[in-house]
């Protein structure tokens, strides 16, 4: 996998794919992905560069209000479809396992806006995301994380009275001897980095952009 060996024509195709993703043009993205495969461009390079770059551009566009959550969800779907097409052409033993994150708003908390933003941004950034919704209790979160062999659990809380449930998930993992299996990242309106450290979380993010950066750092 060597990006320096990419020809000018191949680079143009990769740029075309990036543009198709950024403009959320599904037809064009499918078409370019087929051409990329015909040209025998290493799919791993395509996933690592133009697709990752497109996800980053989308994140910045969202951050400055040029696009919205609905656009990000559609872009996430498009990226997943293109990656699935490309991955069929990667030998199984070279297939890089996608990092999987289980995300939920904790028990008693029905606020979904921030959690949805983080979930969508993580997915658009190439993580496998299992969003199990709002008001989810600790045992369900842990069960899902085990079931999908998650690498990370992301916990959202918008209320001071539901923040203790973020701690509960961590405490339960410790009690079950599973703490080392998952990185834990927390966030939400009243949540602070100090609180994250106090309850033994691995990471904290104040918004969706930071959540992606923190996930990349923790799962590198």
């Amino acid at each position: 996998m060597d990006i320096s060996k990419i020809s000018q024509e191949q680079k143009e195709q990769m740029d075309a794919l990036k543009d198709a993703i950024v403009t959320i043009d599904l037809e064009k993205a499918r078409d370019v992905a087929e051409k990329i495969i015909e040209q025998n461009i290493d799919p791993r390079i395509v996933i690592k560069y133009p697709i990752a770059e497109a996800a980053e551009i989308l994140g910045k566009k969202f951050d400055c209000g040029e696009i919205f959550l609905g656009n990000l969800v559609m872009a996430g779907d498009l990226i997943e479809e293109v990656v699935a097409v490309l991955e069929k052409h990667i030998p199984l033993d070279q297939l890089e396992k996608k990092k999987v994150i289980v995300i939920a708003a904790v028990q008693g908390d029905i606020h979904s806006v921030g959690k949805n933003l983080v979930s969508t941004m993580l997915r658009a950034s190439g993580f496998g995301v299992c969003d199990i919704g709002v008001d989810v209790n600790s045992s369900v979160i842990i069960q899902k994380a085990r079931e999908v062999k998650a690498d990370m659990i992301a916990l959202s809380s918008l209320l001071t009275t539901t923040m203790p449930y973020q701690k509960e998930v961590i405490d339960d993992l410790v009690s079950m001897g599973l703490r080392k299996n998952f990185k834990i990242i927390i966030g939400g309106g009243p949540v602070t980095r100090d609180y994250a450290e106090k309850i033994g979380a691995d990471g904290y993010a104040k918004d969706a952009i930071e959540a992606v950066e923190e996930a990349r750092r923790l799962l590198a």
Binding site: L69, G133, D135
Partner: protein, 460 residues
């Protein structure tokens, strides 16, 4: 005639099953389509719609959105839909006036017109914020209740029981502590000699909220039950539990829903449509008799960015012009800045002027947008400000409001991201006299004089 709540509940069990993501995207796509169809365009240079024609189109688009996509019940994963006839009957059958409070503190909350001279009801207080202990909560709430321009106050929570045990949502601690803190709130209004004043609080779960109702020491029938529509266009059975209790107990239902700029509402134009549609959901699905029509911005921790003012202002104006519903705006409730700063007063004033002029009440309290775990993060002076500004803006024209709001925006607009944190009650009030410290009082008077000079007619 209003559509039976039990019919709504049946539809929540029998309506079409839809994936939540599919529902979310349907909001996004439909609002994009509707803003083109109804020629809805946000112009940042005009934070207020002066003529009302745009607001009318936003109202029509909101009706169409609500009829087209319905309400998503996250408990059953089904969509609750109503017909146009049912919706129009519901709108006509909703009350134009509600009586709340008791005795000399009784008030009427009525439909307000755009630029109308009907009295706006102001329910202030450091809404749902944490207090360090009973004594401090009592002092702050009593101070808020003593403001004669305030018609009611919100309570909050003392987040530790016996000073050490966390109050946790969905556990016995939540029921116990919300019930005990509403007793503190009632003692505070009694001590302020306003025993019949409206008091409000809302716990995370319905069971703890219901547990606060008690005619002697808790919330009364003459107060109100707040029900919340989840953003965007959703409801859970836990919300509907509150409606069921309120219907059985006979307490006024007040709803609240927010569109999300940057969320599935999309751009400000989309959010204005969703703000109307969410309001309609509150009256027909959750049986609200009055409701808060609002918006949040996924990128701003305040409710009064220029775009938010436009969204909430046009949506409220559309509802006020096209219905006789009782609308709550309270746009200035959650500033980015903290108490004790000029920015807090500027931000909240922009929202309160707009709410009043567009035809709304302000019934959702006042506090910094994010208070987190910091206790006593608000004082009676912000409640006083809320009352002064809301009542001072009665009868103001949209043209005048536009002038004042543009002036105020210039004072805080570029400081929403790094807003000053402000101070807690302990740093802003004399703890013996319970009066604001001189520096805070001076700052308050300076902003008041500044806005008076711009044309805001305070009732001194």
């Amino acid at each position: 005639m209003r559509l039976s709540f039990w019919e709504i509940l049946s539809r929540s069990r029998e309506g079409p099953i839809v994936e939540e993501k599919e529902f979310d995207l349907s909001i996004f796509k439909k609002t994009q389509e509707l803003q083109k169809q109804y020629k809805i365009k946000y112009d940042p240079a005009k934070p207020i719609d002066m003529e009302g024609d745009l607001a009318d189109r936003i109202y029509q688009a909101g009706v169409e959105l609500f009829l087209d996509i319905g309400t998503y019940c996250i408990t059953t994963k089904r969509v609750i839909k109503v017909t146009e006839q049912e919706l129009q009957s519901e709108i006509k059958a909703c009350p134009e006036v509600i009586e709340m409070g008791q005795g000399k503190d009784r008030v009427e909350m009525c439909h307000r017109d755009v630029e109308g001279d009907q009295e706006p009801i102001v329910i202030a207080g450091v809404q749902t914020a944490p207090f360090s202990d009973e004594e401090m909560m009592f002092k702050i709430c009593k101070g808020c209740a003593m403001n004669q321009k305030v018609d009611g106050i919100w309570g909050g929570i003392i987040p530790k029981i016996e000073g050490k045990h966390d109050v946790i949502a969905g556990t016995p601690s939540e029921i116990y502590q919300y019930r005990k803190t509403v007793e503190v709130l009632r003692r505070a209004i009694n001590s302020a000699e306003r025993p019949g004043m409206i008091i409000v609080n809302n716990a995370p779960t319905s069971m703890a909220t219901i547990a606060m109702f008690d005619e002697e020491m808790g919330l009364r029938r003459s107060d109100y039950m707040e029900v919340t529509g989840m953003s965007e266009m959703k409801v859970a059975y836990d919300d509907l539990n509150r409606t069921a209790f309120a219907l059985a107990y006979g307490v006024t239902i007040h709803g609240t829903h927010s569109s999300v700029i940057g969320g599935f509402s999309g751009n400000p134009e989309g959010a204005s449509i969703v703000s109307v549609a969410g309001s309609l959901q509150l009256i027909i699905v959750q049986k609200a008799e009055s409701f808060r029509c609002g918006t949040v911005d996924s990128r701003v921790k305040s409710r009064v960015s220029r775009a938010q003012l436009w969204v909430a202002g046009t949506a409220i104006q559309g509802l006020s012009r096209n219905t006789k519903l009782i609308v709550d705006g309270n746009i200035g409730d959650h500033p980015a800045a903290g108490p004790g700063t000029k920015q807090y007063l500027y931000e909240s004033a922009a929202g309160f002027v707009l709410s009043t002029v567009m035809g709304a009440h302000s019934a959702e309290g006042t506090r910094k947008f994010v208070v987190g775990n910091i206790c006593n993060y608000g004082t009676p002076l912000e409640s006083n400000w809320m009352g002064e500004v809301c009542k001072g803006a009665v009868g103001m024209t949209r043209g005048k409001a536009n002038h004042i709001i543009k002036y105020i925006l210039g004072k805080y607009e570029d400081r929403l991201i790094d807003a000053p944190e402000g101070e807690t009650f302990e740093k802003l009030y004399d703890q013996k006299t319970l009066e604001p410290l001189p520096h805070y009082k001076k700052l308050y008077e300076e902003v008041k004089e500044e806005l008076r000079a711009q044309g805001l007619k305070f009732r001194d």
